[in-house]
């Protein structure tokens, strides 16, 4: 049976065009961009073209885009770089309780090792941050606010523009983790009003292990990676030329296809949500009904646990994801679902389906059918149904 891949928030396949664009830079044009002979210059030109493309796509200037080794590095770079460079101004950072671990763990590190104070803002039942809460949290020690653009688990899109107003008013730097939004919904650094923005290629049909950090001109930030003078001294290390070219190709394709694709994904998404609600009792949708990524479906299925649903789906060649404790080595359910205020059973019974450009309506219908069967089977062995049902 053909595999049905519904975990595009975890990673996407590289677009065949992306791989094609990368290939010449492995063996043919392999020169080091830092070399001064014309052969290295070829790859330097490739990197600069890529930079211009990425910059243009998010409404930035070329020299405001720094390539990194992925979204996690971009987040680490942004937070640690700004925190250390602005330590004298203050030691307070504001973020939210539903950030990706790349932001949250970096914050914990800064708290523990750097003596920084971090405010973790709560979210409402839909996963939305209240801009007023951001405003209230700002003190005269605050040097950075970091609020993700779109959440990777529940797909909720934050009111970044509104939050930005308060942050800018206070003259504070503003970072957004846009790893899940870039290439999927419009992202413009000026419209969002952010100073730093993280991108990861493998979430938009680019290769793994490459990303970018947008840094608004004039932003005080330390390098995260020290060494050579690559990226104008802001990120040392020999440039991952094929990866960078792959990222820019993915961006180019997104520019062409994003709008159409988003419309189509919203169709599929709503078809899946409707289908699940209609065919399975006691299903709840997590996240926001409207401020939601086009490709994200997150549901809780009462009385059954996520990993056991996932494994059953896997046996039928369907790839999805769960926020259940049982799928994490920490044995705690998703911090995002907990932040929504979900009762633990519902957090444990969550499933995430994230759709992509190759999914079809038939696949969606099959998933609904298969999951109904699975849930019936698992509920038959669930002690919760009797206790609560």
């Amino acid at each position: 049976m053909k595999r049905i891949y519904l975990d595009h928030a975890a990673t996407t396949p590289a677009h065949p065009e992306v791989v094609k664009a990368m290939l010449p830079y492995f063996t043919g044009a392999f020169g080091n961009p830092s070399s001064i002979y014309s052969y290295g210059q070829e790859t330097k030109v490739a990197v600069e073209k890529a930079r211009a493309k990425v910059a243009e796509f998010i409404g930035a200037k070329s020299d405001e885009v720094i390539f990194t080794g992925g979204g996690t590095e971009a987040d680490n770079f942004a937070l640690k770089g700004v925190a250390l460079a602005n330590e004298r101004k203050g030691n307070h950072l504001i973020t939210t309780s539903i950030e990706h671990h790349a932001v949250l763990e970096t914050c914990k590190f800064l708290e523990k090792q750097g003596g920084f104070k971090i405010t973790y803002l709560p979210v409402d039942g839909y996963g939305l941050v209240d801009p007023q809460e951001v405003k209230k949290a700002i003190t005269n020690k605050t040097i950075l606010v970091s609020v993700m653009h779109a959440n990777n688990e529940i797909g909720t899109i934050q009111p970044i523009e509104e939050i930005s107003k308060y942050v800018k008013e206070a003259g504070i730097l503003f970072h957004t983790d846009a790893v899940q939004s870039v290439g999927h919904i419009p992202v413009n650094v000026d419209e969002l009003g952010v100073d730093l923005l993280s991108i990861s290629a493998h979430k938009l049909y680019g290769p793994k292990g490459v990303g970018a950090l947008y840094i608004r001109k004039g932003t005080r930030i330390f390098p995260f990676m020290h060494g050579g003078e690559q990226e104008r001294g802001r990120r040392a290390g020999t440039e991952n030329v094929p990866g960078i070219v792959g990222l820019s190709k993915a961006i180019e394709l997104a520019r062409q296809e994003m709008d159409e694709e988003a419309k189509w994904l919203v169709c599929l998404r709503d078809r899946l949500i409707q289908g699940l609600l209609e065919n399975i009792d006691h299903v709840h949708v997590n996240g926001h009904p409207f401020w939601r990524l086009p490709n994200n479906v997150n549901v809780s299925v009462d009385f059954v646990e996520g990993e056991s649903m996932l494994l059953n789906l896997d046996l039928e060649n369907i790839c999805a994801s769960t926020g259940s404790a049982c799928s994490s080595s920490s044995l705690e359910p998703s911090h995002v679902l907990r932040a929504l205020g979900l009762p633990p059973e519902q957090a444990h019974g969550s499933l995430r389906f994230t759709l992509g450009r190759e999914n079809t309506a038939d696949e969606i219908d099959l998933v609904i059918e298969v999951l109904s069967r699975i849930v019936t089977r698992l509920r038959a062995m669930s002690p919760l149904l009797k206790i609560r049902g």
Partner: protein, 139 residues
């Protein structure tokens, strides 16, 4: 949404796919319930005992693949065993019978052992002292 190292053995997957002894026993001789929804694991284990021998065991489980497989395995293991023998079934024995469990899933086998012990205790309490009860208390 993180993933742990949950590559299950074939045996685990086999029990997960075709769990043995799913269900409840009406008027069981012993029943144990362990775990709680907050942790994402609940197991109920029912036993029927005749002449000191466990003749039937059933379970209901809310939990991950390993929780279901260990429930299934423990019910298989106790059938035909005496109470004394059943009391000796350890979580390791369950895990081993399943061809091993990933480290983060060992707690499921603990849960299975506890469910069994709790059902046995329930049986012993009901039937009052057919066996030296220190054995149970010492648990």
């Amino acid at each position: 949404m993180r993933g742990g190292p949950t590559q299950y053995s074939e045996k685990v997957m086999e029990h997960f796919k075709n769990p043995r002894n799913v269900g409840e026993i009406e008027n069981p001789d012993g029943v144990g319930q362990v775990g709680n929804p907050v942790c994402g694991d609940i197991m109920e284990l029912y036993i029927r005992v005749k002449d000191g021998i466990i003749t039937e065991a059933k379970f209901k489980t809310f939990g991950c693949g390993a929780a279901i497989a260990t429930s299934s395995m423990v019910t298989e293991m106790v059938k035909g065993k005496s109470i004394e023998e059943a009391l000796k079934i350890s979580n390791r024995a369950v895990a081993e019978a399943l061809g091993g469990l990933p480290p983060v899933k060992m707690h499921c086998s603990v849960l299975a052992e506890e469910a069994l012990q709790s059902a046995l205790e329930d049986y012993l309490n009901k039937s009052k002292g057919e066996l030296p009860s220190e054995k149970v208390k010492s648990k």
